[in-house]
């Protein structure tokens, strides 16, 4: 309760004072002089000598009328909680993670969510504006708030699951986008974290629709193609089923080699399935064929292995023998058929066959004149390394993990690093974390330098940084970078949720695994890029030719389709408890009209009393 114009309360005081004065005046006029009180003895009321204020119904009615009018002038209002009924905004938020693509026999979970949303749209009051927001790695509105039901249904039909695990930050961003909506409906196969919801919106406004029933799933966790002709490859398969499942693992290479391995997976078990060794290298594709498998995105994996008959050579130069040893191990780990030569730069003497290296890795050193199809510069020296210029050396730096090497938002403290001036067409795979107001420093990048691939790691890897189990992110980045450096130019194997770049002379056409194609504009250096959100093969058509990008997907949480949402939610969300409650808003209800009506009612009652008195006197013949 409050007053819009409290100063007008002075009207109340003034009006009531005036009323009392008028009343006293009126009472004074009613005093009648008579010749003697003895004529009135038998009809008189109790005698009083003085009475200033005689309170009667008329006085109170007038006081009520004046008070009501004064309060109306003062703008008396009430804070009321009122339901939002018409012309409200209704936000529909969809989880577009990989698990929403799981099928339980009647379509995918996203199909079920879409059907529920269509029913909400159909039942929505006329004028309700629906907005559609999806989230996976980030939040993106696929349909702005609109009362056009046709456009809303079309936007719902366009929703598709991505082969990524949705990030909590993305859900938070989606809720922030929908914060202005009167009601928010969230369609997901698992309940959102209550703390996250409560941190963004009023949980009472959120209605969570838990989609999907528990389903069984086998996932291909990893694929190691082995070394052609030397070492067996193996696949790691994990069961997210409550029952034993029969399956077949099919391993194919692009040279026509095909291996089929029948499997019986124990419930909730993990199995390492060896195969091979493959006779030849190249692109290797592993595929799980399982009856009753609900999620297809984690049933395929691709890997590239260098052809075993190609005797690849690598050179590692570093003043630190420990670094030389670590880098050599990593290179051999990536390609066991690789011949690695590790030398101190001071002892390196150029030989006639220097140009025959396929990969040259230089740590904290730069030897001009060395050429190879792939060059990796680790912690380039302060004097610079060819096309790479060193701006400054930093004592320590944090690595922000953004590309799948660890949980989102985590940082990794590294040792010394150098801020580099990279070529314009560089693709940054990782950069430093820290103050958002400052530009991040590229820490891992890949660029095209003429006809060769040039990779850069800006941080120092001394003290066995790459072998430290606590710094696994640095190792993964290094492996990823080396694989990209040594992979054929027309072939990339990445994980979903990775940003893929490729050289293209002009624009390129990207054909997604589901067959949809779109144009990709090239940047200033002739590179195109996209985010791999679906598992499978992307085809990139450029004027110079075609290249393929294979995206692998696995996420432990998303692949676990057996989780029962209700059981996983020990404490029901407030929104779930009040899911049927009408959304409300706190509004202001002015009472001016009611007060004016009250004043008129009081005046009417006063007039009726006066009329009744007049009539009774007239009937008695006194008027």
């Amino acid at each position: 309760m409050g007053f819009l114009t409290p100063l007008n309360l002075l009207w109340l005081a003034g009006s009531l004072t005036l009323l009392v004065l008028i009343y006293l005046r009126a009472r004074a006029r009613m005093t009648v002089e008579v010749s003697s009180l003895m004529l009135f003895e038998e009809i008189g009321a109790p005698v009083i000598q003085r009475r200033m204020l005689h309170l009667d119904a008329l006085f109170w009615l007038e006081a009520a009328a004046l008070s009501a009018l004064s309060l109306a002038l003062a703008g008396l209002y009430l804070r009321v909680t009122q339901p939002i009924t018409t012309y409200r905004t209704h936000a529909l938020i969809f989880d577009l993670g990989a698990a929403m693509g799981a099928r339980d026999g009647h379509g995918s979970r996203l199909d079920a969510a879409r059907a529920a949303a269509l029913e909400i749209v159909a039942r929505g009051p006329a004028g309700t504006r629906f907005s559609i927001i999806g989230y996976d790695l980030g939040a993106h509105g696929s349909h702005a708030a609109s009362a056009d039901r046709g456009a809303t249904r079309a936007a719902l039909a366009e929703l598709a699951p991505a082969a990524v695990a949705p990030r909590p930050a993305a859900l938070k961003a989606a809720l922030i986008r929908a914060r202005e909506a009167a009601q928010i409906d969230l369609f997901s196969d698992r309940p959102p974290p209550p703390a996250l919801v409560a941190d963004v919106i009023d949980p009472a406004r959120l209605k969570v629709h838990l989609i999907g029933a528990p389903a069984e799933n086998l996932a291909l966790v990893s694929l190691d193609p082995g070394t052609p002709g030397i070492r067996q490859g193996h696949c790691v398969i994990r069961s997210f089923a409550q029952h034993p499942m029969r399956s077949r693992l099919i391993v194919e290479s692009d040279h026509g080699e095909r291996l089929t391995l029948p499997l019986i997976m124990e419930p909730e078990a993990e199995a390492v399935v060896p195969f091979g060794p493959l006779t030849r290298g190249g692109l290797v594709h592993a595929h799980l064929e399982t009856a009753g498998d609900a999620l297809a995105a984690d049933d395929d994996r691709w890997a590239f292995v260098a052809p075993g008959d190609a005797k690849s050579r690598a050179l590692v130069l570093s003043p630190d023998p420990a670094v030389r040893d670590d880098l050599s191990r990593i290179l051999l780990g990536i390609n066991q058929s690789l011949t690695v030569a590790a030398l101190d730069p001071a002892q390196y003497r150029r030989s006639p066959d220097a140009a025959s290296y396929d990969l040259i890795v230089m740590h904290d050193t730069y030897v001009p004149g060395l050429e190879a199809p792939a060059m990796l510069m680790v912690y380039p020296p302060a004097s610079g390394a060819g096309a790479i210029r060193v701006v400054r050396t930093l004592g320590a730096i944090e690595l922000e993990d953004r590309h799948g090497s660890g949980p989102a938002g985590e940082t990794l403290m590294l040792g010394p690093a150098r801020e580099l001036a990279l070529p314009a067409d560089s693709s940054v795979l990782a950069h430093s974390a820290g103050n958002p107001a400052q530009s991040p420093i590229p820490l891992v990048a890949i660029a095209r330098d003429g006809d060769r691939n040039l990779g850069v790691i800006a941080f120092d890897v001394r003290n066995h940084l790459l072998m430290n189990p606590d710094d696994l992110g640095a190792l993964l980045l290094t492996v990823q970078l080396v694989r990209r450096l040594t992979a054929p130019a027309h072939l990339q194997v990445v994980n979903t949720a990775s940003y893929v770049t490729a050289q293209a002379a002009g624009s390129a056409t990207l054909i997604a695994p589901d067959g949809n194609s779109r144009k990709l504009p090239a940047d200033g250096s002739g590179r195109v890029g996209f985010m791999a959100m679906a598992a499978g093969r992307y085809r990139l058509l450029t004027p110079t030719g075609e290249s393929s990008i294979y995206a692998n997907y696995f996420d432990e949480d998303e692949s676990d389709l057996a989780a029962r949402p209700a059981a996983e939610t020990p404490a029901p969300l407030p929104s779930m408890r009040s899911s049927a409650a009408q959304p409300t808003t706190v509004g202001v209800m002015t009472l001016g009209l009611w007060l004016a009506a009250l004043a008129m009612l009081a005046m009417l009652a006063e007039s009726m009393l006066l009329s009744r008195d007049w009539w009774s006197r007239w009937m008695a013949g006194h008027v």
């Binding site: 003697s36 004529l39 006197r617």
Partner: protein, 301 residues
């Protein structure tokens, strides 16, 4: 003001047909007498008659005996010595209700009765009494015994204003202290006093051998109870006492019954004490009172 009508010729002409009725007129020198033109001591010669033995030799006309050698006695028109006192209540209650002009009505009646007395050559005095500031005061007009003197009463009558409380006993005490001869006393008042007050006052006048006549005057609205408000506050004009009233539907009837009770009690008292009581309620009833009530009750003949 009603009292101004007392000097209008038309009003006086209507009074010519009336004679003030006096049942017992006494004088200190002549004792009991009859009304009308009678022989007696006077200055106006009435007739001559033959002397009879035993008659008063003072009235023997010696001149006629010398010329006619016959004893003749002179007879004279008798001179009445009845003193008429008209007492007018000039207390504050006579001025209320103002619309009734109760005091003017009382003065008009008193002037009319005075005129009747003057017409019969009676010595008439008009006296108003009031008690301003707690002290009884009698205001006297000139004593009139001839008709031509009647207009001289006008300044006195028109100057009377109502004020102070009514105290009839105090008035009679002050009046009787003047030791005047017994005569006719006409008391005109609203008698809005305690019964004991007027009973004592009238008793003392009768005891002083006055012939007392009472005119009970009330205003027309005052007597009929014209009560306009259901919620009203009344103030006694004489005492200043205030009373809150919540009048019901039968308030008017109860008021009129109260007025009737007061008048009946006064009339009963007057009847018991051989006092002529005339009710004069409402100035609109003046003609009926003069030509009907006063003759019917013997105040005029």
């Amino acid at each position: 003001m009603l009292e101004a009508r007392a000097f209008e010729p038309e009003f006086l002409a209507r009074l010519e047909r009336l004679v003030l009725g006096i049942k017992r007129a006494r004088t200190a020198r002549l004792g009991q007498r009859t009304l009308g033109r009678v022989q007696g001591i006077g200055i106006e010669l009435e007739n001559f008659k033959s002397y009879s033995e035993g008659e008063d030799l003072r009235f023997l006309d010696w001149n006629a005996f010398a010329r006619l050698d016959d004893l003749l006695l002179r007879t004279y028109r008798a001179t009445r010595q009845v003193e008429v006192t008209v007492l007018i209540d000039a207390s504050a209650s006579m001025g209320v209700p103002r619309a009734d002009d109760k005091l003017g009505f009382a003065l008009l009646l008193g002037a009319a009765l005075a005129y009747l007395g003057i017409t019969e050559n009676d010595a008439v005095r008009m006296v108003s009494f009031a008690m301003p500031r707690g002290k009884m005061r009698l205001e006297r007009g000139i004593a009139c015994s001839r008709r031509e003197m009647y207009p001289q009463l006008k300044p006195f009558i028109t100057a009377i204003r109502p004020e102070g409380p009514t105290r009839l006993t105090a008035m009679t005490d002050l009046l009787l202290s003047e030791r005047r001869s017994p005569g006719l006393v006409i008391l005109i008042s609203d008698f809005l006093v305690a019964p004991s007050d007027y009973e004592v006052a009238l008793g003392r006048l009768v005891a002083a051998r006055h012939e007392v006549k009472v005119l009970h005057v009330m205003g027309e609205r005052e007597s009929t109870g014209d009560l306009r408000e259901h919620m009203m506050r009344i103030r006694d004009v004489e005492s200043g006492e205030i009373r809150e009233l919540a009048l019901g539907e039968d308030a008017g009837a109860r008021y009129r019954r109260r007025v009737e009770d007061l008048a009946e009690r006064l009339r009963d008292f007057c009847t018991r004490r051989a006092i002529t009581y005339v009710r004069a309620f409402g100035a609109s009833n003046l003609d009926r009172i003069l030509t009907g009530e006063l003759p019917r009750l013997g105040l005029v003949v």
